[in-house]
């Protein structure tokens, strides 16, 4: 089985939020909510500054606290390690929201918890997630970590990178090339 991951080249990313807008239209995300977002991480003081721009979302963790803590089993792991929420089984108790180190989940106005699905409906068709496919800077890559020839595997081998909050021990699968 595949182990899907996303690799984002922060050198190329300009933080334009096309990923955010594309996700909204592709998935008809509820008004007032986004499943992905942009962070401008600024370090230093004027004029010695550095900035890392990141497109962030659910990390589809291998050791996902949201899945472990879900009392109804609504948060679950689907094909390729994609973490999904089964809406019918979700009671909106928010335990998963509290457990997520990435603040990636929100309560949909209709009562269930919603978040990034890695566009599983597209992935099943062999397509990239919408955010990856629209990015004008081509800074985003999607693929299988278990396949050494996949673009994501190659990029992670070739370039320095980091994930967010690795210390949380959740084994996140969004990597940022630096």
């Amino acid at each position: 089985m595949a182990r899907y991951a996303m690799v984002i080249d922060t050198r190329r990313c300009v933080g334009c939020a096309d990923c955010v807008v594309a996700c909204k239209t592709e998935n008809n995300v509820a008004d007032g909510f986004c499943r992905d977002w942009i962070v401008q991480d600024v370090r230093g003081g004027y004029p010695d500054l550095q900035m890392e721009i990141r497109s962030e979302r659910c990390n589809h963790c291998e050791n996902a606290p949201c899945v472990r803590c879900c009392p109804t089993g609504a948060s679950t792991i689907a094909v390729g390690g994609i973490v999904i929420v089964e809406r019918d089984e979700c009671t909106g108790c928010k335990a998963c929201i509290a457990s997520c180190p990435y603040d990636a989940r929100f309560v949909h106005p209709e009562g269930f918890v919603d978040k990034c699905t890695f566009c599983i409906h597209r992935v099943k068709e062999g397509l990239n997630p919408a955010c990856v496919s629209v990015c004008p800077t081509k800074c985003m890559f999607f693929g299988d970590l278990d396949d050494p020839d996949s673009e994501v595997s190659k990029l992670l081998k070739a370039r320095p990178n980091h994930a967010l909050f690795p210390e949380a021990g959740t084994k996140p699968k969004i990597y940022y090339l630096t």
Partner: protein, 747 residues
Amino acid sequence: MAKSLSRREFIKIGGLGLGGLALGGGLMNSCANMLMEEQAVQLGLTGAANGSLALSPTVCEICFWKCAGWVHTIDGQPWKITGNEHDPSCNGRLCPRGTGGLGAYLDADRLRTPLIRTGVRGKQTFREATWDEALDFIAIKMKKIAEEHGPECVALFTHGSGGSYFKHLLRAYGSNNIAAPSYAQCRGPREEAYMLTFGEGVYSPERTDIRNSKCLVLIGSHLGENMHNTQVQEFADMVGNGGTVITVDPRYSVAASKSKYWLPIRPATDLALMLAWIHVIIEEQLFDQEYVKNNTYGFDELRQSVKKYTPEWAYPITTIKPHIIRETAREMGWQKPATLVHPGRHVTWYGDDTQRVRAGAILNALLGSWGRRGGFYYPNKAAVPKYKYPAYPAAKRSWRDAFPGKYPLANLALASGICDATLPSPERDCSFKGWLVYGTNLLMTLPQPKKTIAAMQNLDLLVAIDLMPAEITGWADVVLPECSYLERYDDLRVSPGRVPTVALRAPAFKTKYNSRPGWWIARELGLKMGLEKYFPWETLEDYLETRLKGAGLSLAELKEKGVVELPQRQPLYFEDGVQPEFDTPSGKIELYSDVLASYGFDPVPQYTAHEEPPDGYYRLLYGRAPTHTFGRTTNNPILTETMAENEVWINTKVAELNGIRNGEYIILANQDGAKTNKIKAKVTERIRHDCVYVVHGFGHQDKRLRKAFLRGADDAQLITKVKIDPIMGGTGMRVNFVTFEKVVQAV
């Protein structure tokens, strides 16, 4: 349609449709998606229904880059817009504004039906009218103005695709007074500076070969925040390939964060830095000697003229250290001719803008980047014959007559100038009596909004044609609602470029409300004014078919493909052994300009100091955000979700000094006492201490824009002062200084 669907209901229908998904017209390509199966399954929606997915070709209208794309619909309902893979303007990837373009169609605050004003101008009292009534009103007034004052007393302000029909209408009526704020309030100085230097403009989309550039110099250009699509795509490629970026900006922009060198220059001193660079490049012989010898005119005069502009001279002016000026000049020299000093786009800053941009053009000439790989390429023109109309009547007067002897090198009409010439003056025999305003909110696009209001009060007729209500539509006598770009055919996008193309915008949806396409409005108005010989076509499809036939194409082909490549006729770069020709008086690249000298302007750019902000005031800088196009998108229901209001960037120490907390709402007040709506403070290390920065286009004051109304502040209200470029009439707008005031809470 009996009932419009909520977004939620729409998902359900889409999900249901999976069973019997019918694909539209063989148009499906690899980007087409199966719809939200997971959601459908999770919602327990199974079984077959008649969902059908269709794609129709469009050309984006959210900005002027005009990327071609596909509108995806399910059962005729909107789903998403994606880029056309065969379009070199987007390479299959739209920017966030284009991706969110559906918001223009969906916006519930759109103008819905023609309106005729019932009260005094400025008081927003209108009555709904039929198209017939509204167009009759305009036709009668326009005829009257033509009889009493001459048709030249009607002017058109235009921005956007549909403007072409109104230009045609106005010319047929007998006036050539057609202005776009994109000239005198934006890129006019750039076009004139490059025209003077190379005999050609930079044009739009820019002919910059960023993707092949090894060293890119950005002077106030904030690519990445400014989402001109392929420029940003190429910028990312160039950065990804390890190219050197040198960014000159008082603000640590996104581009600055990608740069090897960030030069946080003192605002308004860019020309000093550029002259010092020219000095170093000449004195250290970093220039392309053979290119300069073969292709340029006036090198010795230039050399003589910049002798005094040493990096040490520039240091106290710009605050950029001499060794950094030298290092960056050498970097530019080492990478030549693949060094691109970007010409910028919005360049009306300080009133000497043509000269400042010309200094950049001269740098490009010295580095040999014009006509060379990694510099500026020669775009291939797209040859699609124009529709043949009878000759227009000769206009007896033009906008130039309003300014005898002024702005001699302006090649296009000045929007600000037409505004000035609407105010009665004893020096003029004719002031403007009528304005048609298409797709441009003059109260935000022109500086000095109070002057614009005073000018409008002198009009006999003010017509606004627009998609959305805005400040300008509130002042109009007649408001005509145009439908969005997703509901109409428009003229072909005929684009020059590395590969010339022709692209089609076809309607994806039926016209909403009682709105109409621009072509229909202009034609009906023409018919009512007896100008039927200028509108021989009945529908735009007839017109398009005729034009396409002239290029050996058909509407059917364009509907299927969206974009068609046209033959390339000339090489992109100069060829070895061929002496290039330049359309300048000397036939060479003019480092020294006899034309400028003949009008009494500096033939080689010279530095003049600009006024500095007084104590307690900060220079107002403004720019763009990636998800918005000026004020046009700040009510877009999709795009406002990424950015609903602007912030004012204030240096941390300045904020401390003024007792301003990050996130606090404050009011900006300028040197003339003009004040803005409240705006959130962004306290940041990313900007110098002597300026503040806001994104333009926010702070709408028209309450009919429910998402944009009083969200953030409008910088145009603070631009009460301008410095006019004497060469071409551009309005330098970065000459205003602001201070901070606390928001007084209503008791």
